[in-house]
């Protein structure tokens, strides 16, 4: 069966504040596939996920990105979100004065409105979100607190995954979701991600370390360095990177 890929990135160049960070990324993500993007610090991994989510600070200088066959780069961040692109932030934002539940319910209803679906009311929302919180073993009290305010690092990351579980996106971008998590938090976050795995849902896991991939097995692994993909392989590539580090790949690529 000929199926349009969910995401096609073609020769993508992007810069921020005059510095070119992405220097020709090409990547195709099929429907239902899980890709891991690994690489040393400063390789452009986080930039790639921010660019895909539509962060206005980045300027696209070349290339194109098709999402469900449409030009993703022309879409506003909120339109991307409503069309199913979800970025789990590396550094989730604290917003004092906005409750976690108001935030999440409004986000859900904005997206439902976009899809022409009726809004969920307060009771339906609480039922839904409570079930999702159980998957992540999250304390329901966090719902009534201000968004991420005073949350621990692990609570913030779990809260990102909670949003993902409630919004049920088509493309999940996880930007260093494993960073700063202890073993237990990593296991619960991974459980949430695996819970969401589905034939129609694709994921890009951006990570520095192998350890997330112990819990979530990707279909493909790409190594990003200096703004380019220098190696792609299967799940076994992660093990090799764990043993040998990135230097040998950089040397092979002449970087």
């Amino acid at each position: 069966m000929d199926q349009t890929p969910l995401l096609e990135i073609k020769n993508l160049h992007a810069r921020v504040a005059g510095h070119e960070i992405l220097k020709g990324i090409s990547l195709t993500i099929g429907v239902g596939e899980i890709h891991a993007i690994m690489g040393p610090n400063g390789s452009g991994k986080s930039t790639l996920s921010q660019v895909l989510a539509g962060h206005p600070a980045y300027e696209i200088t070349q290339g194109e990105v098709l999402y469900k066959g449409r030009n993703l780069l022309e879409m506003e961040p909120e339109e991307r979100a409503c069309e199913g692109v979800f970025l789990a932030f590396q550094y989730p934002i604290e917003i004092p004065g906005v409750s976690n539940s108001y935030f999440l319910r409004t986000a859900l209803n904005e997206q439902r409105k976009h899809k022409g679906l009726p809004e969920v009311d307060g009771a339906e929302f609480i039922e839904l979100v409570t079930k999702r919180m159980e998957v992540l073993e999250m304390d329901p009290a966090l719902l009534s607190r201000s968004l991420n305010e005073g949350f621990s690092g692990g609570q913030k990351k779990r809260n990102e995954i909670l949003q993902m579980l409630v919004l049920e996106p088509s493309l999940c971008l996880l930007d260093e979701t494993d960073s700063g998590l202890d073993i237990d938090a990593l296991r619960e976050v991974s459980k949430g991600v695996n819970w969401l795995r589905a034939p129609g849902r694709s994921m890009i896991l951006v990570t520095h370390y192998q350890r997330l991939l112990d819990h979530i097995t990707p279909d493909h692994i790409h190594v990003l360095a200096k703004g380019r993909i220098i190696r792609s392989g299967g799940a076994e590539l992660a093990l090799e990177l764990e043993k040998r580090g990135y230097d040998w790949l950089l040397a092979e690529a002449g970087l």
């Binding site: 989510a53 539509g54 962060h55 206005p56 600070a57 506003e76 961040p77 909120e78 991307r80 979100a81 409503c82 979800f86 970025l87 932030f89 989730p92 934002i93 917003i95 004092p96 004065g97 906005v98 935030f103 409004t106 986000a107 859900l108 904005e110 997206q111 976009h114 949003q163 919004l167």
Partner: protein
Amino acid sequence: MNGEPVWLQERRSLAAERALDLGLPSQKQEIWKYTSAARFLLDDDISAIGPVDSSTLSFLDNSPESSDAPVLELLDGHALTDSVELPSGAFFGTFASALSDPLLAAVIEKHLATLDPKDQALYAWSLAHFQTGLLLHVPAEVQLATQLTLIHRRSSSASPAWTRVLVVLGTGAAAQLVELHEGDEGASHRSLTVTEIVLERDSSLAHGRLGLQAQEDISWSATLVHQGTNSRYAGHAAQLGAAYARNEFSIVLAEPEAECSLKGIFRPDASRHHDIQTMIDHAAPNCRSEQVVKGVLDGSSSGVFHGRVYVRPGAKGTRAFQSNRNLLLSRKAQVYSRPQLEIENDDVKASHGSATGNLDEKALFFLRARGFSLASARAVLIRAFLQEVAESLPWEDLRRRVHHLLGGEE
């Protein structure tokens, strides 16, 4: 003779003389640096008012009914209701009606205009020319559970409305008073209001002042508070309407253990100008004051916060906290923030802070990345910024109204 009592006529005459002597404050005066008093009082008004004539100024000419709803309404400076029925000897009504009762007349005579700063012309003008006076008097040990509302409403664009409000709470008394300033759209109204508040020992007042004037209105309102031992004043001010508005708060913590708090919002847009001036005078030991004022400015609007705290030499054990934070939504909007602490003894805990910034780009992107439109993301962040102050309103109906006016859902 159905005119005003002689003592009032005399006080008005003296005030008129003083007003003429003082002239309007010039913008060289520091407290008038960014706001022009001439916008509130025009030369034409001054010449039109002329010498004081108590027969033309008499407020004893109408005889409205009393009402059982705890609301008094002034239309273009004239009372539509004479007084409100209150229990336990408490009184809320016009001076006209109060003066027929010797006890209440004595209260007015004792307190009226005693708190006015004598070097400020607008106060002198206000005493000389107020059309209507309102008295809220709560006798000792009476605690009113009902929220009282005073509506200052403008509909015709004729002359300015001059209003004086006098609040006197006896020992151990308690009350809640909300003043709403409203105006019908389509005209520009000028209003000048002075609210004097005398809080005796152990008394407590929650006082709301909501500026919901029409878009073109010009409004000056001043709140003067004098606090006795262990009294409480909680002021809540939100300036949401009016083209040109100034709110002055001057609070004297005159006796030990008194506490005051002042929470304020101003939110000008287009080319509006909103000014908040505060003066907290710590004149006695062990008093506390807290001020939290937040401004949100859009368009080419301008805002002023000038907050002064003065701690006198004898005011040991003072606690004074002041914070002003402002959010500029456009590059053309401007805010002048001037916190000023003057402390004349060592035994004081005081802090003040001022910060002005823009909407947090990271937070905006975060919300948009979850599906919020740019407009709703901005509205959510603005409300979140003001929430600390808006949610502190102790009245549910007002809280909802302000929430709605700030763009929130019902």
